[in-house]
């Protein structure tokens, strides 16, 4: 009897203590989460002058770009000896996971790499770069390059408003091809969608895997977007959608047709059997090994592809539906931003200007990162090895920019559209578990609800 009584007393005491702890924890947590309403202003109050005083700026990049930024830093330090650039890195996905908290923290870098703006503009975490654009003359450069990094102050619409980010260069999507295999099937670089389909059919007939594409690497979604632009024969609908313009809709006949084509290609066996589990790193390795005809990806893979076999692989833009139509591609800046809490915003802006304008820096961005530099219209030409995949990306970027055929990525339209909808949706589509029209309506309804919830 006694032990039972003791146990029950102990239980009562512990329950009391636990209750007390829960109650105090509840008291601590009882206020609404979120930042106080008096957030700092998003316009930069700091001056734009670099000055002659010593300063160290910290640049936080994705690990894969750390060697490039270390090179850019050494070039910059040679020109501005009073400024030291410290480059730190972490895995890209980890960095994107941590970005909002890094920006809200107390030890904030002066420049940080973003995947997309997400809620950072709305949460007033980024410096407005308009004063620097004025100071460094960015406003007189071709403005299309800054479109994707402009946002209204509320962060609800892009392609308009103030500048919040720039980059050493631009990502660009397209299709890599294996020259030897293209020759073996007796075809040239496809100039139209029909020619692309014919090439894939010929490859399939000769037991050559026609196209390396992947759900997890988002390239199914890229191709759906390419096909949509082809069928719409205009970049405007998708671009309005990407920039969250009021009333924009992707639930259109062109997108339904694009989804149907993608589904047909899957049924015809043009894609790898593990298209829905193929990771990006494995996809590029498979293509490098020389067994597949086409590989859907972007210029970020170009240096590695050239390294695997310079001259063996080429690059072309997604072909138009009919000859002379839009040869479209997705493109976005390798987005670098200055946090509102940065200690040295003026020096950081000087670094960002340097990497866009210095010829050696631009060449390194291309050679090491694969990024095609933007910058002023009269910038000196970059040298690329003849017949390289990199030269293909540079040539196509120039052509698409001149013809205004570049669009932002649909996967960047909202922070969750890729993981919630486009990646699983396109996987379900080619698995025959979602119809083209259901995909189109799902993408649109998810997009609307995601925009409404932010």
């Amino acid at each position: 009897m006694l032990p039972e009584t003791r146990r029950s007393r102990r239980r009562t005491t512990l329950a009391g203590v636990a209750g007390l702890s829960v109650a105090s924890a509840a008291l601590l947590a009882a206020c609404a989460p979120g930042a106080p309403s008096s957030s700092p202003s998003s316009s930069t109050s700091a001056g734009t002058s670099v000055g002659s005083g010593k300063a160290t700026i910290t640049v936080e990049e994705a690990s894969i770009d750390v060697p490039l930024f270390q090179k850019l830093a050494s070039l910059f330090e040679a020109k501005y000896p009073n400024i030291k650039v410290k480059v730190v890195g972490q895995d890209f996905n980890t960095l994107q996971t941590n970005v909002p908290r890094i920006l809200a923290g107390s030890n904030v870098p002066d420049i940080i790499r973003l995947g997309a703006f997400g809620n950072t503009v709305a949460d007033k975490q980024l410096a407005n770069l308009d004063p620097y654009a004025a100071k460094y003359g960015w406003n007189s450069w071709p403005q299309a390059q800054f479109e994707s990094t402009r946002s209204n102050a509320k962060g609800t619409e892009r392609g308009t408003g103030s500048l919040y980010g720039v980059g050493p260069g631009f990502g660009l999507t397209g299709i890599y091809y294996n020259r030897a295999l293209l020759k073996r099937i007796g075809a040239g670089v496809p100039a139209t969608l029909a020619a692309l389909e014919a090439d894939m059919a010929k490859a399939k007939a000769k037991h050559i895997p026609p196209m390396i594409i992947s759900g997890p690497a988002q390239t199914l979604a890229f191709t759906a977007q390419n096909l949509e632009v082809d069928y719409a024969n205009s970049v405007t609908p998708v671009q309005n959608w990407n920039y969250d313009k009021p009333g924009a809709s992707i639930n259109s006949p062109a997108f339904v047709k694009a989804a149907a084509t993608l589904q047909t290609w899957a049924k015809d066996g043009y894609f790898p059997t593990d298209v829905n589990s193929l990771q990006e790193s494995d996809a590029v390795t498979q293509f490098d090994s020389g067994h597949s005809l086409f590989y859907v990806s972007g210029n970020w893979d170009a240096p590695a592809i050239d390294k695997a076999g310079l001259g063996k692989f080429g690059f072309f833009g997604f072909p138009p539906a009919t000859a002379g139509g839009i040869t479209d591609a997705m493109s976005a800046a390798d987005l670098q931003v200055i946090p509102i809490k940065a200690a040295h915003p003026a020096q950081a802006a000087a670094f960002l200007n340097f990497i866009q304008t210095d010829q050696a820096a631009r060449q390194d961005s291309l050679n090491m990162g694969g990024y095609v530099p933007g910058g002023p219209a009269n910038a000196a030409r970059l040298s690329t090895p003849n017949g390289s995949a990199v030269s293909g990306t540079v040539a196509f970027f120039a052509q698409a920019t001149a013809r205004n055929e570049l669009t932002e990525f649909m996967v960047n339209a909202t922070s969750s559209i890729s993981a919630s909808t486009l990646v699983p949706g396109t996987e379900l589509l080619i698995g025959g578990r979602l119809s083209p029209s259901s995909l189109a309506s799902k993408v649109q309804s998810d997009y609307v609800s995601q925009l409404a919830s932010r």
Binding site: V22, N119, T273, S277
Partner: protein, 314 residues
């Protein structure tokens, strides 16, 4: 109290126990405060790192919040979505399927292996088998999951083995196929947890009095009767621990799925742990993530508490 203690010697003998109890009270109260004092450091850590985040998660679940900016009250809408949005509740259903692979199969296999290993008297062989079975426990799960994705790939070991035995037509992109992805992920869990269950159940078996088995044999009991009457009841506590730990691994699984499939193809391997991660860090919907987390905790408790009770029953 002082007056009662001074009067005690003159009190009637029948009242003695009650008085003694009353006299003991202040000491006991002091003792309980002292207990509390000793427990305070641990309680503080528990409060700060477990209770506070738990309560805060519940609070977040009633708001729409991106984790940084201002939050707006959401009422019960986050909870409503957990039960009405197929992407969210299907993740919970998937984790129930994983219980088959993380709990049912490992516990059954563990039970069979433990009983068989008890039979193997040769120490060297038994030790080797124990080590081999337990090995997956010491390999970091993330690394193991990468190795498994290679084995499951179209040209991986699994398909090679099928081709070698003439089952080439049964080849699959195991992780990329809607019908096989979830079981394929589940088998990684089976591989990890079978050794854990085996070793735990072996320890339990060693604690059962050998004379019970001998007595049963003398009484002419067969292996099955012996297993039902002695082994199974004797392993009740170990079985409860195995079941509890593995069910929690199934319902709260994250690492294997994150590495192997990221929830795909489609939503076929999405589990609550991964959905919570994506909602919080990629989709910046902290309120929705918190509501799913609270439902997950409630679900784990609803399943685990009855199992614990089962373990206590005699």
């Amino acid at each position: 109290l002082t007056s009662s203690s001074t009067r005690a010697p003159t009190a009637a003998p029948a009242a003695e126990p009650a008085l003694r109890a009353r006299r003991r009270q202040p000491r006991r109260r002091a003792a309980s405060w002292l207990t509390l004092l000793w427990a305070l450091p641990a309680l503080t850590v528990y409060g700060v790192f477990v209770l506070y985040p738990l309560v805060e998660t519940v609070v977040y679940s009633f708001y729409n919040w991106d984790g940084i900016g201002a939050a707006s009250p959401a009422g019960l809408s986050n909870y409503q979505r957990v039960f009405t949005q197929s992407a969210l509740y299907s993740s919970i259903l998937n984790s129930f399927v994983l219980i088959v692979f993380f709990t049912v199969i490992p516990v059954l296999l563990g039970l069979v292996s433990a009983v068989l290993m008890r039979e193997i008297r040769g120490r060297g062989t038994g030790g080797l088998i124990r080590t081999l079975l337990f090995l997956p426990q010491v390999i970091p799960l993330a690394g193991a999951a990468i190795a498994w994705t290679w084995m499951y790939s179209p040209n991986g070991v699994v398909n090679q083995a099928l081709r070698a035995v003439g089952l080439g037509s049964d080849q699959h992109a195991w992780l990329g196929d809607f019908s096989t992805a979830l079981p394929a992920v589940g088998i990684i869990g089976t591989w990890v947890l079978t050794g854990f269950c085996t070793v735990l159940l072996l320890v339990g078996l060693a604690k059962i009095d050998q004379s019970l088995f001998e007595a049963a044999r003398i009484d002419g009991a067969g292996r099955w009767a012996e297993f039902r009457a002695i082994t199974l009841p004797g392993l009740r506590r170990e079985l409860v621990v195995c079941t509890t730990v593995t069910i929690i691994s199934a319902l709260a699984s994250f690492d294997v799925v994150y590495i192997a499939t990221q929830g795909g193809p489609g939503y076929s391997t999405m589990v609550p742990g991964l959905e919570i991660y994506q909602l919080t860090f990629i989709k910046q919907q902290v309120g929705q993530a918190s509501a799913l987390a609270v439902v997950l905790v409630a679900l784990v408790l609803a399943i685990i508490v009855p199992i614990q009770r089962l373990g206590r029953e005699r």
